[in-house]
Subunit: 463 residues, 2 copies
């Protein structure tokens, strides 16, 4: 049976193991050998869930693991944890690996017929004085999460500083609030959540301060100060010093593509691998890539973007596994949807921000409306703000941003589907969305925004 196809996977998280599982579903062992190499101990875990584990809302680390190495192996996948791929040789169609638990062992070469690059992303770690001190934590991996939790349990942590107010930053701020730890979030730019327009980011800023999360904007960290034992004791900015028993870095991630670039594979403007619609690396027949290490096509702007998000990673793996398994699937692209929360504040966006629209040469109108998640008279009707961008003249929906409370965030999905379908805001007015008082006002907030946006498009055309 030496004629078996060999599928080799680098990285055994969402993309890698979704690809493996789907390929296995389509091709039995005797048709396809699947080998996955993973640097760490864990497979198929939800990195997005780490803040909730640290915050204590998820009590069991293993709950974050969708499938263990043993479970993968039981399904006929040769999974090698603690094994690092150190080189991809495209000419010879093989990868070199190293056993991280046995530094004396020789590196080995493994041939492949198909290769999946699912190397993920690495957190941004600015070169600041003291950044490597004890007490400074990333939270990219389960190991990171465990280290932070150990610190919280062992040390008397009263004050935390989170550097960066993006998704991870605000979610970690919530986690500390859950543990009754005083938290300060330092953000270099003028607003938290730079994934929103400044006006919407300001709503988040105000709400975070209202929750007792001290959020300082225009505050780029300049150093981590340490005590005599070399432990972090404060974060400094140009003007201030913020005492901290623990420091968390939430500055976002960059695609991890060192191996792939060394092998000569093409990366895009954001440092991610470039693929075709079937998730093949561009120009390659049998090299596939997906998840946090690739750039994805933004269907609204026509440009590629780097978006590290577990839901995309899962879809990429599914597409790759289907194609490697002899089926057909594509990943057409994204519209830039994201949803998050800080305590009871829900934050969502899809499509383009104002700056992103301008960047690709689009002229647009914007409207912002206030409404409620339920009929105004219904208990727990929560206020929400919806901002909508529509293209000048055509009225095509370009983007939606939402800041609100319970029931606000997932409404962004309606706009995500409308963007995918290329709908105009005029068309959106008559969308048949679910209505009953516990779920929505008679005019859903998204429809109110669409109505106002359509009027703005008309008005701008006239005048």
């Amino acid at each position: 049976m030496g004629a078996n196809e060999r599928l080799v996977i680098i990285g055994a998280d969402a993309t890698g193991m979704s690809a493996a599982s789907q390929a296995r579903r389509l091709k039995p062992d005797h048709d396809l050998e699947i080998t996955a190499f993973e640097r760490g101990h864990f497979t198929s875990y939800s990195a997005c869930g780490i803040p909730y584990w640290v915050g204590g809302e998820v009590t069991d680390r293993d709950a974050l693991i969708a499938r263990t190495p043993a479970e993968h192996r039981a399904r006929g996948i040769d999974l090698r944890t603690r094994t690092e791929v150190t080189e991809i040789d495209l000419d010879r169609q093989c990868v070199r690996t190293r056993d991280l638990d046995d530094p004396t062992a020789d590196e080995r070469w493994h041939g492949f017929d198909h290769l999946v690059i699912a190397t993920g992303a690495r957190p941004v770690r600015p070169k600041l004085p003291g950044i490597d001190a004890e007490g400074v934590h990333g939270i990219q991996s389960l190991d990171d999460g465990q280290a932070l939790l150990d610190a919280l349990h062992k040390d008397h942590v009263r004050r935390a500083v989170v550097v960066g107010a993006g998704y991870i930053g605000v979610e970690m701020a919530e986690a500390f609030r859950h543990r009754d730890i005083d938290v300060t979030v330092l953000e270099a730019s003028d607003q938290p959540m730079s994934t929103l327009d400044p006006d919407m980011g300001r709503l988040v800023h105000t709400a975070m301060n209202g929750m007792g999360i001290h959020t300082v904007t225009g505050a780029a960290a300049t150093a981590v100060l340490t005590d005599a034992d070399g432990r972090a004791r404060a974060v400094t900015t140009e003007n201030s010093e913020y005492p901290a028993d623990v420091v968390v870095l939430g500055l976002g991630v960059r695609p991890e593509t060192t191996l792939a670039r060394d092998a000569g594979l093409p990366t895009g403007p954001h440092g991610g691998l470039l693929t075709d619609l079937a998730m093949r690396v561009r120009g390659q027949e049998n090299i596939w890539a997906g998840g946090d290490c690739v750039e994805v096509l933004d269907l609204v702007s026509g440009h590629t973007r780097h978006i590290a998000l577990g839901t995309h990673a899962n879809k990429h793996g599914q597409v790759i596994g289907t194609n490697v398994g002899g089926g057909y699937a594509t990943f057409p692209g994204v519209v830039g949807t994201a949803v998050s929360k800080v305590c009871d504040l829900e934050i969502a966006r899809t499509g383009l921000l104002e700056a992103q629209a301008r960047e690709v040469g689009l002229r647009y109108v914007t409207v912002t409306i206030e409404s409620t998640s339920r009929a105004g008279y219904y208990p727990r009707a929560a206020p929400m703000t919806v901002k909508m961008l529509a293209e000048h003249r055509t009225g095509r929906l370009l983007g939606v941003q939402i800041v609100g409370r319970e029931g606000a965030g997932k409404r962004v999905d309606v706009a995500a589907v409308a963007l995918t379908a290329g709908m105009t805001v005029e068309q959106m007015i008559s969308l048949d969305l679910g209505y009953a008082p516990p779920f929505s006002p008679a005019w859903d907030p998204i429809l109110i925004a669409a109505r106002k946006a359509a009027a703005a498009v008309t008005k701008e055309m006239r005048g």
Copy 2:
């Protein structure tokens, strides 16, 4: 200024007063006289909110009134409450009215340049022995709601029987549970919520019984038994007798089109007025109709349907008001979206049921999946069941039904937009829906269903 245009409106609720308000926004008083005739005391109220008012979740009746007669009048609308229109004369372009508070007054004629028929719907009231007894309540109007509340406050009500397990029936069952009143729901058909397929309706049935709402199917009411004072004391079915201190009728509604039919205006197979896309009554230049008295085009089946829903009524009014005001707007149709809840059970649907698909000659595949509203490991992740119909061969989405708990219902909106856009289930797999653990599993339940439906379409094509 005798050359003013005159807009006459019959019925001052959602459609009528949305039309009036929008027309007034576009045309000032000296260009357009607006007169609205309303049989009742109230205007622009949320009939959908009545069950929550009866249940005590909404404490103030006036909270259900979006705009009072006085507020409408202050905006230059001549609103005449307690005034019934008794005839429409199309030849002479006028309507005849009667003052309900002064039976001795003569009827009067009022000419119009535009007429809006917004006569709404009337509840189905079967001709059963005892149906008109004291203690038998409809809940169509605020007056109905008030009468029921008065009865609940005045009498010692321990047991209620709700006849009919559609939207109103199940919402009233919830209302009684909120008031700790024992409630039995009698449903003539084999399942509650005949707006769902039988398999999904059974999930609702089980859940309702689990909530202590005694739900009896195959139980057509045959009579209301009364006591010596002529008060309702029980409802009978062919085989049983259900004691009741209060009886509520929740058998749905029919379009109220007597006036319009007497004037020779066209109605459709469900008894509703037929309109064009601008909401003009078919064949008429200046007669408009909308809301619960019209049939709407079902964009999925291509047939008209009667759907009494406040959200459609509001849109119809907006479209009519825009067109009468000299603008341009259309109501393209619906996809049949509805969402409801019974206590913490959320029920939603959009598109076609199996029976509806068969009725219009569609061949389809169905899939049913179980998932959760949030990531499985996140607190309060609630189970939900999604059923999806897709067309044979084309894979076009035909319908979605959801039964679940908190966070399940409004997910139907994604399918509603996809239906409107004519998406295939294959296309839906890559929809960029908002993901974070508190909001969704990495694969949103709708996407899991789409994936399974796409596989089912492929499988059926092969074999």
